[in-house]
Structure formats: C-alpha cells, structure tokens
C-alpha cells in the first residue's frame, strides 16, 4: 500500500509518476473547476482537479456527499462542461467537440453503468446489451456477444425482459451494455447503490474481473468503502479538491480515511 497526502497542485504529477510506463493515460483532466450559479449564491463544486486515468485499471472516486465526486465524473464523461480546465479522452480534447461529436465520442469510447440500471423495459436482456451497437449502426461480433453473456452470467436469460430479472441481474445487463462496445473507458455511478450487500458483492466481483481479464478501464464513483476497496487506486475528494490518493487500500482503511474527511 502506498499512501500519499499531497497538495492538489502536486497531484497530477504524482499520479503520472505512479504510472506503469507501458500504458499511457486514456483519460486526463487538467485544472478542472466547476462553478454553479453566479454572484453570492455561486457554489464551487470543483476547485482545480487534475488527474490521469491509466489504461486497464479500476479507479474509484470517493468522498462525502457534496464533495464534487459526481460532478467530476460527469465532466470526465463529457456530460457536463467544466467552467475552466480541459478533459482529454483517447487523445481528443472535449472542449473542442460539439454535441454531435461528443455523442459520437461517447459511442466509441465511453460506457456507462448507472445506479438505477436504466434499462429499456420493452427490450430483452440481450437487446438492451446490444443497444449501443445498434444505435451506432454497428453489427455485433457474435463470438464476443456470447462470451460477454457468459461472463455476466446471463447466457440463459438472454430473452428475459428487465421486469423478469432481479436487481442484480438487471445491473449485470447494464454492465454488459457498458462493455459491449469495448469502450476506452467505463464510468460507473454508484453501481451498487441500489442493491443489497450480497448482490453488491457479485456486481463488484464482475467489475473487478472485467478489469483483470478484459483490461477494461473503469472509473467508479461510490461512497461505499467496500466497493472502493476493489479499486487499483482510490481518489478521495473533499470540497472540490482531490485530497488524497491511495493504492490497494482495504475497506477498513477507507472507512478510517473517510472519517477523517468528515463523514461518508
């Protein structure tokens, strides 16, 4: 376990230094700030965040509510625009893209896993999984689809509709949907937030294996210590700044760290 508590300005350098030389960052952000509202009522959700996401790793973003972790993820995924700063995904600077280019970038490079699954109720499990490809007008690779169905453990539930699946199964479908296009990066927003603890474990395990076996890069926002514990790297946010970065940290250590930050 390596543990550094550093000033935000030094953060980016630290993250890059920690990088294995073979894999360059797939997502990098520099000096992100995000201000909501104007004048006296203005709120600074991010106050200068820089980070790199290395390929093939699971990065967890933790922090108490109001720390800016969701805002950070939305900006990294191109769903929200930073007030200042720049995000680069797969070499493309997001600030230079219009809505249509951003949409195409999301198709090619980004997958999403949501807290409330967000499956289409009228489509079958397999249709939901194939949705990103069909929206992009691409033909699925049958072998990869079968492999993926096996990996998420729903090979025998392909033709079930979401209403016929349990919460955990629905989230597996959502993970399949995020992985199907082999995106550069998958963003997961509280993926276990709506699940019981046993199911949460299964989902975390599935995400972990996706990183290890498929070399899928994942950024996960969570406030659950147990979820963050599977990550290669945990970024702690407080008041719009990255205040701490830890590698291979245990759930217990995370709980302690969060307590120090003032609540979970």
């Amino acid at each position: 376990m390596s543990d550094t508590v550093a000033a935000p300005a030094q953060m980016a350098a630290t993250a890059v230094a920690d990088e294995a030389p073979a894999a360059g960052p797939v997502v990098s952000a520099t000096d992100l700030t995000r201000r909501y509202g104007e004048g006296d009522t203005a709120v600074d959700a991010l106050r200068g965040v820089s980070l790199d996401v290395p390929k093939g790793q699971l990065t967890a973003v933790m922090g108490p509510s109001g720390s800016g972790k969701s805002t950070l993820m939305h900006i990294l995924a191109g769903l929200d625009k930073p007030t200042t700063g720049e995000v680069t995904i797969a070499g493309e600077a997001l600030s230079k893209l219009n809505d249509s280019d951003l949409t195409k970038l999301r198709r090619r490079h980004i997958g999403f896993i949501f807290q409330f699954f967000n499956l289409l109720p009228m489509l079958t499990a397999e249709e939901n999984i194939l949705l990103p490809l069909s929206i992009a007008g691409e033909k699925p690779d049958r072998k990869w689809v079968d492999d993926l169905m096996d990996r998420i453990g729903l090979a025998d539930r392909r033709n079930h509709r979401p209403s016929e699946l349990s919460g955990g199964q629905q989230q597996r479908v959502a993970i399949g949907r995020a992985l199907i296009s082999r995106p550069t990066i998958v963003f997961a927003d509280e993926p276990t937030g709506n699940l019981d603890s046993k199911t949460s474990g299964e989902i975390l395990d599935l995400m972990n294996r996706s990183v290890r076996e498929l070399e899928q890069t994942i950024v996960m926002v969570t406030h659950e210590a147990r979820a963050a514990a599977i990550a290669d790297r945990v970024l702690f946010l407080a008041d719009g700044l990255i205040v701490r970065e830890s590698r291979d940290i245990s759930a217990q250590e995370i709980v302690v760290a969060m307590d120090e930050l003032g609540g979970s």
Partner: protein, 852 residues
C-alpha cells in the same frame, strides 16, 4: 384541495393548453355554425321583410298542389284583369301587379353571369315610386320599354355603365336591353351571389312568357283599415287560382325555402362540430388519464396527508371544469373567426351566401359554453374515478401501479358489447321497415356513437399486432430509432389505442364519405353508359342541373347537320295523392336512350301519343300498375288528365333522367305553362366532330346558360358538382382530424416527459439528437397509422352497410384515395411529432439522467 387542483394546472401549463385545444376547436365549430347561420338568417330575413315593405296584402297565383321549392317550378300566373278589380275595392288605397322569373344576365364576354349557385332574379317594376318597390336607384332612371335596371354589385363586377347594352336571357334567346339604371336592394349590400334585373311590366310579361298575366298583386290599404278587413274584402273577389296573404304572411312564405336551407345548413355544420367535440373528448380523457398516471405519487402523498377519495375526485373534476370553461370561452370567440372563414370557404367553392355582418345570439353563447364544459366533464369522469383508486402506499413505493378497478376484467367484453349494440342499432336504423326519418337518424347516430366508443375500447387489443405490422417500415427506415419507436408504441397499448382512436373516428368518416362518393360516381357512370344509346351530344344548363328553356333545344334542332334532338322535359304533378317528378320525352328520344323494359318495349317512346305514360319498375310495383292501368295526373295549373300505362322500365343502379311518370312531350307542353328541358340529346350527321361541336356552340351563343357536352364531358360535368360537395365535406372533416392531431401531440409530450430519464440514458450511450427526434417521430407516425388502419377499415364497413341499404349506389373501393388517406395520416403523425420530438432532443443529458 380545489386550490391545489388550480395550482396544479398552473404548474402544468403546457399540458393544460394542449388538452384544452382539442375542446376549443369543437366549441369553435359549434359557435361558428350558429354565428354563420344566424347571420345568413338575419340577412335573408331583412331581404324578405324589405321586399314586402309597404304591402298590407299580397295576392299570388295558387298551384293545384304544394310545389316543391327550389327546382324552378312556379305557381301559374293569373289574369291581369284582377288588378283593376282590386284597385276598385273601397278600402284599397293602391295596388300594383308584377311578374317575375329567372333572368340570366350576360357579361360583355358573352358568357352568363353566375355567382355560384345563386339565383338570377328577374322581375317587373310597375313604377319607380310604387310603395311596394324594394329597390332604390343608385344612378340612372327606372326602366321603360327595352330597358333594364341591374344591381350595383353586378354592374360593378362586370363593368356595366348606364346607357350600355346588356344581354338578358329568359325563356327565349338573348335579348339586348339598354341599362337605364343601377339599383340597390333595400338596405342590404349583397344578397348572396344573386343578380337582379328589373324591367317595365310589359317587357317583363313578354320576357317571362306571361302576356296579360300577373304573378303577384301588392296591395296597400287606406288608413284605419285592419288587415283582416282588407283580406276579407279581397277574398270576396279572388278567382280560384289565386290566394291572398298579409304582407308579413307573404314575407314568411317567401322565406320558407331559405329557412329550410338555413336549418339544414345549421344541422349539417353542427354535425361536424359534434364530431370534433366527440373526438376532442377522447383527447381530453386520454391526456387526463396520462397525467393522473404520472401524478400517482403526488396523489398518494395527498392521500397519506389525509385527503379523502372524494377530495381527490373533486380535485380532478375541478381541473376538468377549469380546462373545459377555458376552452369553451376561447372556442366561443374563435367561432366568430371560423364563421368568417366559412363565409369565405363557401364563397371560394362558388356558393356565395348573403352576409350582412356577423350575428352573435345569446343562444350561441349558452350552447357553446354548455357543450364545451359538459363534454370536458364527461370525458374527465373515467380518469377521475381512476385517480380515486390511488392508494396512500403508492407515495412510498417506487413505480407503484394503479390498482385495477373491480370491473376491469369486464372491460373488454363490455367494449365488445358496446360495438355489437352499436352495429345492431345501425342495422335497425337502416333496415327496420317502418321508422320515421327521426327514428332512422336516432338509431343510426346512436349506433355510430356506440360503434366508435366500442371500437376505441376494443382497439387496445389491436394495438400490439397493428403496431408490429405498421411499425415494420419504421424499423427498416429508422434503424434503432425506428425499432425503439415501434417498441414504445406497443409499450402502453391503452394509451396508444386512445390516442389513435381520436384519429380513427375522423378517418372512418372520411373513408365513409369517399366510398359513398365513389359508389355514386361509379354507378352514375354505369347508368349513363348503359342508357346513353346513340346521341352525339347533350345540351345542359351551365350548372349541369338547372332546367333550360325549350327555345335552346328548338334552336339546336334547326342547326345544320342535326338529325334529331331528343328532349327530357321536367316538371311536377300530383299522382295518387303525392307530388311526383314528372318527365316528358319526344319521339326522337327513342334514338337517344336504351332502357331495359320489363313491360312494353322501346317503341313506347314513339307511341306515347296524347295519353300514354311509362313508369319505373319500382313505381309500378308500389302502385300496382300494369300495362293499360290508368295513371291520373294533376298539373300545377289544376288540370287533371288520366294517362294510360304503356311501359315499365327497370332503371339502372345509378338512376335515370326519368321521373316517376314519363309522358309525351306533346301532352306535357299542352298542360304545363312555360315547359323546360332537363337535358336534350342531339344526333348529328357525321357524329362527334369539331365542325359539329362548333355548329352547336354557335347556336347556343344565343343561349349562354346552356352548353354542349359529349358523353364523356357530360359525365365529367355531372361528377364535378359532386366533387365540390365532397371537398366541403373533406374540409369540415379535416377539423376533427386536426383535433386528433392535437391529441397525438399531447400524448407525445406527456410520454417524452415520462421517459425523460430513459432518453437521457439513450443519449449517454450514444444516441444523437437526430436519432431521438426520429424515434419520437416514428412513434407518432405508427400511432397515426394505427388510427388510420382501424378508421379506414371501420369506414369501409359502415359504407358497405349504407350501400347495401341504398339501392342506387354500388360498392366501389377508391383504392387510390384510401392510399392518400394513409399518407395523410403519416403526414399528421409527422406534424404532430415536430414539437414533442424537438423537446425530447433538446433534453440536457445530465439533467435527464438525474430526473425522477
């Protein structure tokens, strides 16, 4: 709670406005109809009152029986010697006689001046300063000898000035008369599209073929004489062929025809307003139930806070009441605009109505508001009942679904029962042996209403398969967006069905009309082709249906190259106690017509003689007539004559030009003053040729209101009249289609709103704005097509039922038109989707994803 309902409406402004719009259009039609017909009524009323101003009594000719009105047959004129006798009566201060008739003015281009189907009024002016003269001189002098005064509007439009010569055609060929003056009718600016031509009495008597005769004597009494006293005195000297009425009584009599026309127009237009309101009620009911489904949690929260079911019910009803009132008030005033629009519409299709300013009666206000509010309230009942079933627990549970009503499982059987009852009632109305007109209408309208409601409820079952089939092209054209659109359309069959049903009603009616029209056209063509034997040309009036003076046919007979002219005279007689259309033919007609004779033979045409008659098979059957049976006829003049049946023919499906009884032209001309032809048919040396056509055209130059047509042209001309009626019907039915378009917009807006998070997800995983728009648009088109499919099918069924009953129409499916209706439905879908699709595409991805 009431306050809460009102706040809710303000919070959902867009939805409220969209729902209200459906009712606005319906109410506007109702109010517009009243404003239109009241305005026409008032304009006509002042015309008739003006024209009898100054008359204390009016003496007119009396027909032997009540003549049908508006077909050119008038009461016989009486001897003018009566005038001197009337003037000699002690209580009579002044009396003047007049004649009148149809006087066609001819424009400078040699063409008849016709404004739509409006009449061309011709009459005598005894003296300009007569107290009975309703005209005022705008310029010039009153007519003398070979002079005429014409109305200001015609003079202006056709650029006639005083001193110029104008062609006037009455019974004979065109007469050239000098314009001595320009006149105006009473206080009215325009009297519809009617043209006026006033002549000196002797000129008019000569023009209208009534030498030494009068149609009317207007009488003013000395002061202090009561009208009873005057009438009594006049009655003492009246001959049998005349009658007397008070001035107002005569004005009332004059207005009978237009009154029945106005009341028909009123019912006709109100019918369409009713359809629009009926469709609007579907739209209101549907949007209220969607809103309630979406507000489940909110209503449940209210219930946990202690609101009773009754309070929930009341809050929904109050909401409907507010929407209904709002819509009714807007619709009431929109009706004024609509009335103006209808005036222009009728004008544009050549049917000018008199307009003396718009009339806004209290009744219009009461009925419009009442109907709008009541329809909205009725439509809100079912959604309101649903709302009361929201349990308090739904406030806590995610995605709680409304519990079904106890009667839910009876819903489909009940819908089926409604439809069956509706069809039964329709069939009873159509085929029951002895129903009065009212009975037939009640059963048919009630039946149609039940059928529509029943089918609308049943269509829940039809939506999934129909969406599957009709959505197939969308999946091919629209890719994933199309596929998702099809899935979305099937997702809530109830909602899609209700939305589509509104359009279904409009399209069923449009289809019904088009099938009836196609049936009439097909059978008419078939009849003409069957009956038309060897004639080369037909002579008809310019408007294709008015009777024409026989002088035209007589002149045609003298045209070089003409071998024979077969005439069909038309008039009215009384037979077996009933007024019937009576026609007459000359011997040459035998060369023109080929009829199927069930008794007698084609030689009947030539052997009718002075007392022969032939009748149609149906008439013979209902009056038990056989060859040799006597057929006693009474003519309008009062002359009775018994004819002998010489033949019975079976008319083809599309009808024939012949009336119930047909006699010989010679006999007809003996008993009918100023006979007229319906059509004449011409056989020419060399058949149809440019030279022959030119020769006939030359002859008819003197009869500008007649024209020549080949068989094909004759058919086309007759059908064109039907086409303009058809166009009016389509325009009026389009109103209900527009209402249903708003229904689709409404449903889509609500649906997009409901699927906000889902759209956010789709955008997040790579759906472009364009794809989102496409998805909404395809769903809209699929919904519209479902409505079209059910509507067209239902329209075909209803039309078939009617056609089976009505024996002069054959069933003919206008495939091309039905395809056009389908395309129109697609267009409706595309238009309806514009606004909701844009809203959906504009959603901010992030906000949409976080939307609850």
């Amino acid at each position: 709670m009431t306050k809460f309902a009102l706040r809710g409406l303000l919070g959902r402004k867009l939805r409220t406005v969209l729902s209200a719009f459906a009712i606005v259009l319906g109410v506007a039609t109702v109010s517009g109809t009243y404003v239109l017909t009241d305005s026409i009524d008032k304009a006509f009323g002042s015309i008739f009152t003006d024209s009898r101003r100054g008359s204390d009594a009016v003496i007119s000719g009396k027909a032997a029986f009540d003549l049908a009105q508006g077909n050119g047959v008038t009461a016989p004129a009486f001897n003018e010697s009566l005038l001197e006798k009337v003037r000699a009566l002690p209580d009579v201060r002044v009396a003047d006689g007049s004649v009148n008739g149809e006087a066609q003015l001819i424009g400078k281009d040699g063409k008849a001046i016709v404004y739509g189907g409006a009449p061309n009024l011709g009459f005598s002016i005894a003296r300009g300063d007569s107290p009975f003269n309703p005209l005022t001189l705008v310029a010039g002098t009153w007519p003398q000898g070979k002079e005429v005064v014409i109305d200001k509007s015609t003079a202006g439009k056709e650029h006639f000035k005083i001193g110029q010569v104008i062609g006037v055609q009455t019974l004979g060929s065109v007469q050239q008369l000098r314009v001595s003056g320009i006149v105006k009718f009473g206080s009215v600016g325009t009297i519809g599209g009617a043209t006026l031509a006033g002549f000196a009495l002797p000129t008019a008597q000569q023009l209208f073929g009534k030498p030494g005769k009068l149609d009317e004597i207007a009488v003013a009494s000395k002061s202090g004489v009561s009208s009873d006293q005057l009438l009594q005195q006049i009655r003492g000297i009246l001959p049998a062929d005349t009658q007397v009425r008070t001035g107002t009584g005569q004005a009332h009599q004059d207005s009978k025809e237009t009154n029945s026309f106005i009341s028909f127009l009123q019912k006709f237009l109100l019918g369409f307003g009713g359809v629009a309101l009926f469709v609007g009620s579907f739209v209101i009911a549907n949007s209220l139930s969607i809103t309630i489904a979406q507000r489940t949690r909110e209503l449940a929260t209210l219930r946990t806070l202690g609101a009773s079911r009754r309070q929930v019910l009341r809050s929904i009803i109050v909401e409907a009441l507010v929407i209904g009132t709002l819509a009714a008030v807007i619709g009431l005033f929109a009706g004024l605009g609509l009335a103006k629009g209808l005036f222009s519409l009728f004008n544009a299709v050549g049917f000018t109505l008199p307009n003396n300013g718009l009339t806004f009666e209290t009744r219009t206000v009461l009925v419009s508001l009442g109907v709008g509010i009541i329809v909205t309230l009725l439509a809100s009942l079912r959604p309101a009942m649903r709302a009361t079933r929201v349990p308090p627990i739904a406030a806590i549970r995610e995605g709680a679904i409304l519990p079904e009503s106890r009667f839910a499982r009876y819903r489909l059987p009940a819908a089926g029962l409604l439809a069956v009852l509706g069809f039964a009632s329709l069939l009873w109305g159509l085929f029951a042996p002895s129903l009065g007109t009212t009975g037939v209408l009640v059963f048919m309208l009630g039946g149609a209403l039940l059928v529509f409601i029943g089918i609308a409820l049943l269509s829940v079952r039809l939506v999934p398969p129909l969406a599957g089939a009709l959505g197939w092209p969308a999946t091919k054209i629209g890719g994933t967006a199309g596929t998702l659109a099809r899935e979305n359309a099937q997702r809530n069959p109830q909602r899609t069905a209700s939305t589509a049903s509104a359009l279904m009603i409009g399209l069923a009616l449009v289809t019904l009309v088009s099938l009836l029209a196609a049936g009439i056209i097909t059978s008419f063509k078939g009849s003409v082709n069957k009956i038309w034997k060897s004639a080369d040309y037909a002579i008809t009036a310019q408007n294709n249906f008015s009777p024409i003076p026989i002088a035209a046919a007589n002149a045609v007979a003298k045209t070089p190259g003409v071998l024979a002219v077969g005439n069909v005279r038309v008039g009215e007689t009384l037979a077996f106690g009933k007024r019937i259309n009576t026609t007459a033919v000359n011997p040459a007609s035998s060369q023109m017509f080929s009829l199927e004779w069930t008794q007698g033979s084609a030689s009947v045409f030539r052997t009718l003689g002075a007392d022969g008659a032939f009748v149609s098979k149906g008439y013979a059957k209902s009056h038990h007539l056989q060859i040799g049976s006597p057929v006693p006829l009474t003519f309008p003049s009062g002359v009775r004559k018994s004819f002998v049946l010489r033949g019975v023919f079976a008319p083809p499906t599309g009808g024939s030009p012949f009336g119930s009884v047909t006699i010989s032209q010679a006999a007809f001309d003996r008993f009918v003053a100023r006979p007229q032809n319906l059509y004449s048919f011409v056989l020419m040396k060399g058949g149809q040729s440019d030279a022959n056509q030119a020769a006939l055209d030359r002859t008819l130059n003197a009869f500008p209101n007649s024209k020549v047509a080949t068989r094909q042209k004759f058919i086309d001309n007759q059908i064109s009249g039907l086409s303009s009626v058809l166009n009016i019907l389509y325009v009026l039915l389009a109103l209900s289609v527009i209402v249903s378009l708003f229904g689709i917009v409404n449903t889509l807006v609500l649906t997009v709103f409901e699927r906000t998070r889902e759209i956010g997800m789709l955008r997040a995983i790579g759906m472009t704005r364009r794809q989102v728009r496409r998805m909404v648009r395809h769903e809209s088109v699929i919904t519209a097509l479902i409505g079209a499919a059910i509507g067209i099918a239902l329209g075909i069924v209803l039309a078939s039922l009617l056609i089976v009953r009505v024996d002069f129409i054959v069933l003919s499916i206008p495939v091309g038109q039905l395809i056009i209706f389908g395309i129109a439905a697609i267009v409706v879908g595309i238009i309806a989707a514009i606004f909701p699709a844009r809203r959906a595409a504009r959603l901010n991805v992030l906000e949409a994803l976080q939307y609850e």
